[in-house]
Symmetry: C2
DNA sequence: GTCTATATCAGGATAGAC
DNA sequence: GTCTATCCTGATATAGAC
């Protein structure tokens, strides 16, 4: 792997663990094994490197999620697969966590990958909800876009309450609660 | 107001805006008008001051939310009042935002106010859901605790997707979507 | 492309005078 | 209780040699 790639991957990890403000150039250099000069040769500075890392993370996330939402199965099964996809709940969401970082949100450039990712996700989920309605699996009077936003929010908020509790349990409850509501809506 | 109180209030504001890692002693001193020595006279250091600020914020939040959940009205009306309580969506949640801060979550002392606040909130909402079930307003087969967790998560996640979008709109959609699902469950 | 040296400023705190 | 002085480390780079 090239030095450039190692820099990006190290930054991806650190942004996930420590956030944007909490990720220092020095930490990136140490984790990637690249020197000071090397890092500033490949990237203009911290924010350029963060942007590259965020874009790569967003792309990976879309690919992983598509694997669940595009697959076979009913709408509820696919949504359930997406919601249960998570492994390491207490680490939080690689993308969503950055929405709390003022340095990210205050910069149009850095906020863009977040915005695009959630926008794509909500649209894709709204399609799945519509498909479920067409099959009579979900109540016809749900608004697909609102429902999709609620599903995404349950996931993101699940991370928040799990980290606050120091336990994955509240995350699981939130997901189960949401799926039960979805399933109940069609009765 | 005493210097000590001004220190705490300034820290409350800064924690909300910038998070724990992003809040420096210098910024606290400037905002509160207190000097260096004054701050270290009243508090042992940044973390002690943060703890005092978080406890005060948690107390205020519980009081405000109780105002909505304890009031008159049906269960769905009270939950709706709670979800629509928010004014400045893009500022995010005063407590939930701190769950993304490694310096908070990694410290048992600092995580405690978060844990207790969300724990209280989920219990309280579960009671309201149970009351709704007793009145036949909500489906009898919902799990009150799971449903409560889902409601809290929608709110916390709503903040996340709103900040990512730079707009309050996704928050409103998530809240509407969740309320629609709740209302539909009883049909 | 990578290295080492250097620069500036902020973070977080202690010491001791008043 | 509050003030000023001082300390040490880390954040974020730039400069220039190799």
């Amino acid at each position: 792997m090239s030095t450039r790639e190692r820099l990006i991957e190290s930054t991806q990890d650190l942004l996930w663990e420590r956030g944007y403000a909490g990720t220092s150039p020095k930490a990136i250099q140490q984790r990637s094994g690249a020197g000071q000069g090397s890092m500033y040769h490949h990237f203009g500075g911290k924010s350029d490197l963060a942007l590259a890392a965020m874009n790569k993370t967003a792309e990976q996330l879309r690919a992983e999620i598509s694997g669940h939402l595009d697959g076979p199965g009913t709408a509820i099964e696919r949504i359930s697969a997406y919601l249960h996809r998570e492994r390491d709940v207490l680490r939080g969401c690689r993308i969503g966590r950055l929405a709390q970082d003022p340095g990210v949100v205050e910069s149009a450039r850095l906020r863009q990958p977040l915005d695009e990712t959630f926008d794509w996700l909500r649209r894709r989920l709204a399609e799945v909800v519509s498909e479920g309605q067409a099959e009579g699996e979900l109540a016809a009077d749900l608004d697909p876009e609102d429902t999709a936003a609620a599903i995404v929010a349950v996931l993101q908020g699940g991370y928040v309450i799990a980290r606050a509790a120091g336990s994955a349990e509240p995350f699981g409850r939130a997901v189960d609660g949401a799926l039960r509501l979805l399933a109940a809506s069609a009765r």
